[in-house]
């Protein structure tokens, strides 16, 4: 059968199944505890105690299986050997700490963590500041925001084309090398130069994430009360002073949110490295190394240990997020 027909059929069946579950379970609940007759009051209370769980059941089951159970299972697996049969205690973690590639990944991830959120937020802030002041701001925003829709793999191809390298005597078809040779320099194989190649990979993610930062920050900038700005202008502050001394402090909270959102994305960065260098030339990162360990080298224990490392790095942000959400609710 044509896969797309199969997909549509599944969608229809899935919707029907879902509807049947929600309608059906509610109907059954109302039959068991009818809201009339001698025990109407008690029945309504009981039905109302159970109904939320009927609404939540599918979500809880799926979240449990796909996100909660794997966390605990991974802790267990990280203490098993390659075949998942023998308990090896902390051996995988010992291997990890001694492993050069793991250290390289950790170091690279740290660089990504510092540079990508900072630069994306920085460019996002500039883009927001600029586009809010021009009549064609919405068009400009759309275009800067556009890379957000492009897959990491698509972006990798787009940028690999820009970084393309040919021998010195050939015409350079990569934009970057063409500019370099045009300025009288020698063409370079950019993605093989240690250290700098990391930066060239980060540029791709910065390119994608700037639009996200811009959209959020632009909304925050517009939410700043007009009076604070007017007061500063009356005191003789120039536009730059107003932007950096008055506006930025007022949106500090939003900047933090943008920063942490991009940080989480960076911790999981996989596709870009996988497609551009596959971790060669000193560009390995945790997520790609985890993939390599698990699905190429076939060592689930070590793969789980690396995945847990990512999890541990995410935990501070998780706690911060939960505290913020709780504050908002109370």
């Amino acid at each position: 059968m044509n896969p797309i027909v199969l997909a549509l059929l599944t969608v229809v069946l899935g919707v029907i199944a879902c509807a049947t579950y929600f309608f059906g379970s509610n109907w059954v609940l109302d039959r068991i505890f009818p809201d009339e007759g001698p025990n109407a009051g008690r029945n309504i209370t009981r039905a109302n105690a159970i109904r939320p769980w009927l609404f939540l059941l599918p979500a809880i089951l799926i979240l449990g299986l796909y996100l909660v159970y794997p966390v605990f299972n991974s802790i267990y697996l990280s203490m098993m050997d390659r075949s998942r049969e023998n308990f090896v205690g902390l051996d995988n973690y010992r291997w990890m700490i001694a492993d050069d590639k793991f250290r390289e990944s950790l170091f690279n991830n740290a660089m990504w963590l510092i540079i990508v959120p900072a630069m994306s937020t920085f460019f996002g802030l500039i883009a927001a500041g600029l586009t809010d002041r021009i009549w064609w701001g919405n068009i400009a925003k759309s275009l800067i925001f556009m890379p957000m829709a492009i897959s990491f793999v698509g972006a990798a191809v787009i940028w690999k084309f820009i970084y393309d390298y040919r021998g010195e005597d050939q015409t350079q078809i990569g934009l970057l090398n063409s500019i370099v040779t045009g300025l009288g320099g020698d063409p370079q194989a950019w993605i093989t130069i240690p250290f700098w190649n990391d930066i060239f990979l980060m540029v791709i993610l910065i390119w994608i994430q700037t639009g996200f930062a811009m959209v959020i920050l632009s909304a925050a900038l517009r939410g700043i009360p007009e009076e604070t700005i007017e007061a500063a202008v009356l005191d003789g502050a120039g536009p730059l002073t107003v932007f950096f001394k008055i506006k930025i402090p007022q949106i500090a909270g939003t900047i933090a949110v943008v920063w942490t959102t991009i940080t989480i994305l960076v911790l999981k960065v996989f596709d870009i490295v996988f497609a551009m260098t596959n971790g060669e030339w000193g560009t390995q990162v945790l997520a790609n190394y985890m993939y390599r360990m698990t699905f190429i080298d076939g060592h689930d224990g070590r793969g789980s240990a690396i995945a847990l490392t990512i999890m541990v790095l995410v935990i501070p942000i998780m706690i911060w997020n939960i505290r913020n959400a709780m504050k908002e609710n109370s």
Partner: protein, 384 residues
């Protein structure tokens, strides 16, 4: 909103020019592959894509008529013709007679050939070789010339890629993954979000905290345990561990925290009076949800749908892990990575395939941008 500051003309110029610079920087990479995907294979590998926008210079070679065919004109023997015979016409900017130095002369300078003939070429490509004595030989002289050729657009790459590289099949596979993986989580999340927003029960606050926490759990953690689980389920039912149902549910699981979070925030912001008065009128929670909350939540549903669609369409990792590598299961991103490995230097294939993979997200993006922005704001600004 541009405040009362910054009205001076100089500043307006600076702002506009900086904005243009930023926009150009951000769009040029994508524009580059789009232009390249419309260029001929040889053109891509011999010149940068930016040259395709203007006329491009090409170095070509033509062979003049044989000396035996020279015609006597007065005292001289002349061979004449056009270098563009049988080719695309253009304008000659330079020519030469030796491969080592193909641009030695410009159209106004005559060139003395090895056999003492004098070669002249006009800008329109007409050439004459003049001899003082009757020349001999049956092989004409080679003329190297440089010409301006107008840009040429071709859709050939798209025909090649869709026809023979398996990209068309992958396109369908990507749709097969994305559509159900977008709709299923919405259904499940909408009910859960309503319960978390408007129903009273013990443990509600804790559940919201769990959902917020799960938002950031790296999905790398789930890959091995789930694959193992799928293996067991597959064996029990005698089906392959890798298949579409598996990936739909995986995407559902990974998208559910965001879906519940976004929808709950939105539903919690609906006016309390509407829901309270419906309760007073005797409507059940189920009725309130179906008839009031769900229709009112349309903007939030649309926001999440766009996120989830873009995310599932653009995903590489989950597809690589939960789907097979055969033609009828490989999605577009996986295909593109594969081509990057196997067709590394064939930029006509790569740029075209890349453009095909990004065209659907771009259409979705530009047509539904409003909802996307709204969703982003709902998902992020709240925390600040």
């Amino acid at each position: 909103m541009d405040g009362s500051a910054g009205k001076s003309p100089a500043l307006i110029w600076v702002v506009n020019i900086s904005a243009i610079l930023l926009v150009v920087l951000w769009t040029i990479p994508t524009f580059g592959i789009f232009v390249s995907s419309l260029r001929d294979r040889d053109a891509i590998s011999t010149s940068g894509w930016w040259t395709a926008l203007s006329a491009s210079e090409q170095s070509l070679v033509a062979r003049a008529d044989a000396p035996d065919d020279a015609v006597q004109v007065g005292d001289a023997w002349v061979i004449s013709g056009s270098v563009f015979d049988g080719g695309v016409a253009g304008e000659v900017t330079a020519f030469g007679s030796r491969a080592q130095d193909p641009t030695s002369n410009t159209p106004s300078e005559p060139l003395v050939l090895r056999d003492d003939g004098v070669l002249e070429i006009a800008e329109n490509g007409d050439y004459t070789i003049t001899y003082t004595a009757q020349p001999e030989g049956n092989r004409g002289a080679r003329i190297f010339y440089t010409t301006e050729v107008a840009p040429e657009i071709t859709t050939e790459n798209y025909e090649t890629v869709l026809g023979s590289e398996g990209v068309a099949q992958s396109f369908l596979n990507s749709l097969t993954v994305s559509i159900p993986a977008t709709i299923i989580p919405i259904l499940i999340a909408a009910f859960a979000a309503y319960a978390l927003a408007w129903m009273e029960f013990p443990g509600r606050v804790l559940l919201v905290a769990v959902v917020v926490g799960l938002l950031v759990v790296p999905l790398q953690l789930s890959l091995i345990p789930l694959l193992k689980f799928y293996g067991i389920v597959g064996q029990a039912f005698g089906v392959s561990a890798k298949g579409y149902v598996g990936i739909w549910l995986a995407h559902t699981g990974f998208g559910l925290p965001l879906a519940i979070y976004l929808l709950r925030n939105y539903m919690a912001g609906l006016p309390r009076e509407v829901i309270e008065s419906a309760r007073v009128d005797g409507a059940t929670d189920f009725g309130i949800f179906m008839r009031i909350v769900l229709p009112l939540s349309f903007p939030a549903l649309a926001s999440f749908a766009i996120f989830q669609f873009l995310w599932t369409w653009n995903d590489l990792l989950i597809a690589k892990v939960f789907l097979g590598q055969s033609d009828n299961q490989m999605v577009l991103t996986g295909r593109l990575v594969e081509l990057l490995g196997s067709r590394g230097g064939d930029w006509e294939i790569l740029t075209t395939s890349a453009f095909i993979t990004i065209i659907v997200p771009l259409v979705v993006f530009f047509s539904m941008q409003r909802y996307l922005v709204r969703g982003l704001l709902a998902g992020s600004v709240k925390g600040g």
